[in-house]
């Protein structure tokens, strides 16, 4: 976790965002920077968030946290024969985890409107907004609906391989946009947000996915502005290297409290768990399947969207120290949201959404609904004093704690503080 400002400085942090804005004004970035034949684009985003109750993607409980910083640098060139080369670096710090990633680097050639190929590291379609979840400058909301687009899965937004894409006219029926992709994805280290265990009994050392594949199909209906979509992504055969946690870690109060070490100590004497079990390997294999069904309607300066998302996991766990061998479980979760965005003027935009999530729709965990569901009502106001600078203030009123599980922050009071909580974000983005 990054160091926190004192409470007396919390408003100073907000003004810091505005100050950085004026620095940006002094620099006055151009729409793009041309370096010879290369077109350079970039963006810088800074977020500050606070919750009245919980840590959520940062140290946000009862304090403002400068919890997200993002820098994007993008270059591209189109050759005379139509071949296009582009690459993008993405550096971010989210909730204490920092990464400098090659976001994409590809060669792109379109043979015809209905067939194009990209080779290299490609971003892939995932719902309406998955491939652009970092692009604060292209939407009104600072944060996309968190259950559908969890920030913890940021490492899995591009893959090294091949993507085919195209647009095909369906004449009176409109047109179809499609993409299909296959590629290898990098290993995910233990300090990444995606590696935060939902279960305190095991601690993930590394996630080793091999590849992902998937496809997206969007139907642009003959009604202006209306489109439907469906995307599917699968990440099979993920090896999860993990080990058993210490008793202190497993039994710390919070959402993921696990009493197994206490039971072992009760049976075999105090300290038995830490002596004989803590640190023992607990390797797991998992397959992940993501599906999103989407609808979007653009009417003038309004954009309406709704999506239904499912995540299915098949998990095969092995904990030799506990005689757990090839223990197989299927886990399912789903969520949906409805969103409306309004670009009222060139400078001012507003939006609202409602999202529902259930991490245990089949009621297999025995946990109460307050822990396994979230209902998130969000509103945002965006202001662009200049075309290259946008400021956003976004408020969430949330019923339920399921979102906390995905984010993985430690909340010692999660089971005592109550299910209703608020989340406020200020965000400033420069782009060129």
């Amino acid at each position: 976790m990054i160091s926190q400002p004192s409470l007396s400085m919390k408003f100073g942090m907000s003004f810091g965002l505005v100050f950085i804005g004026f620095v940006g004004f002094a620099v006055r970035p151009a729409r793009a920077v041309d370096v010879g034949e290369l077109a350079i684009h970039g963006s810088l985003s800074l977020s500050e968030s606070e919750s009245n109750a919980y840590n959520f993607y940062g140290n946000t409980a009862d304090r403002f946290d400068f919890n997200q910083k993002e820098l994007t640098l993008n270059g591209g060139h189109q050759f005379a024969n139509g071949l296009r080369a582009s690459a993008q670096l993405y550096a971010y710090n989210l909730d204490g985890f920092s990464q400098l990633a090659l976001d994409f680097a590809s060669l792109d050639y379109s043979f015809a409107p209905w067939l194009g190929v990209r080779l290299g590291r490609n971003k892939f379609a995932n719902g309406l907004y998955g491939d652009g979840q970092d692009l604060d400058q292209v939407r009104i909301f600072a944060n996309l609906p968190a259950a559908t687009y969890p920030r913890s899965l940021r490492p899995i937004t591009s893959a090294d391989g091949i993507s085919v894409y195209g647009t095909a006219s369906a004449h009176w029926a409109g047109s179809f946009d499609y993409s299909a992709f296959f590629g290898r994805i990098d290993d995910i280290p233990s300090n990444a947000l995606a590696a935060r265990s939902a279960d305190s009994l095991t601690i993930i050392d590394e996630l080793r996915p091999k590849f992902l594949d998937g496809a997206g199909l969007y139907w642009n209906l003959p009604v202006d502005g209306l489109r439907l979509g469906i995307t599917t992504v699968q990440v099979p055969d993920v090896t999860v290297d993990a080990h058993l946690a210490t008793e202190a870690f497993a039994t710390r109060p919070g959402l993921s409290y696990n009493a197994t070490p206490l039971l072992i100590d009760h049976l075999y004497g105090a300290g038995a768990w830490d002596h004989a079990f803590a640190g023992q390997p607990a390797p797991t294999k998992a397959d992940y399947y993501f599906h999103i069904a989407s609808i979007e309607y653009t009417l003038g300066s309004w954009i309406f969207a709704a999506e239904y998302h499912t995540l299915n996991r098949s998990v095969t766990a092995n904990i030799p120290a506990l005689n757990v061998v090839n223990s197989f479980t299927m886990q399912r979760q789903h969520d949906y949201y409805f969103m409306a965005n309004w670009q009222a003027t060139k400078q001012i935009g507003a939006g609202a959404y409602y999202q529902f999530e259930s991490t245990d729709p089949d009621r297999t965990t025995g946990l109460p609904g307050s822990v396994t569901t979230s209902r998130d009502l969000a509103g945002v106001l965006a202001y662009s004093p200049f075309s290259w600078w946008v400021l956003k203030v976004e408020f969430h009123r949330i019923d339920g704690l399921a979102l906390l599980t995905a984010a993985g922050d430690y909340n010692p009071n999660a089971l005592t503080r109550g299910r209703m909580w608020n989340y406020l974000t200020f965000k400033s983005t420069f782009s060129f």
């Binding site: 729409r31 591209g76 409107p113 971003k123 652009g132 060139k346």
Partner: protein, 137 residues
């Protein structure tokens, strides 16, 4: 399309300047004389990147003004703000190159005249002899 334009104009949903006041122009090397509305739609949204002659398209757009709003609304079915964000998204996801942005019609003409494959639009009255006027099929 004309009927919907009239209705939209009556409702004040689109600017007074009509897309019919615009002329589409192309570099002479593009070897294109006419395009359908669907083809112009595809070029504006980057799904068609090559003319029928095989020459790669270099799209140029006006960044502001009533004419720009009208053309983008009519042929790309988007507001100017949505159109700009659409292209930014393509650029920042590796799926496209930003069109050449022209602040004025003079800039547009200058770019289309000198750039092989260039395609853009401007007020009919501003077309010069150095570019090809592309008619609507």
């Amino acid at each position: 399309m004309r009927k919907s334009l009239l209705i939209a104009a009556a409702l004040g949903l689109i600017p007074v300047v009509q897309a019919e006041d615009a002329a589409f122009v192309a570099n002479r090397d593009a070897k294109v004389d006419s395009l359908s509305a669907e083809q112009i739609h595809a070029i504006l949204l980057g799904t068609q990147v090559r003319f029928e002659s095989g020459v790669p398209v270099k799209l140029a757009i006006l960044t502001d003004g009533a004419l720009a709003e009208s053309v983008v609304h009519t042929y790309a079915q988007r507001s100017l703000d949505q159109f700009e964000k659409y292209w930014k998204r393509l650029v920042f996801t590796g799926k496209g190159s930003m069109p050449q942005e022209c602040a004025t019609e003079a800039d547009m003409i200058a770019y289309v005249e000198k750039t092989p494959g260039a395609f853009g639009y401007l007020d009919k009255s501003k077309v010069t002899a150095g570019v090809t006027t592309v008619t609507l099929k």
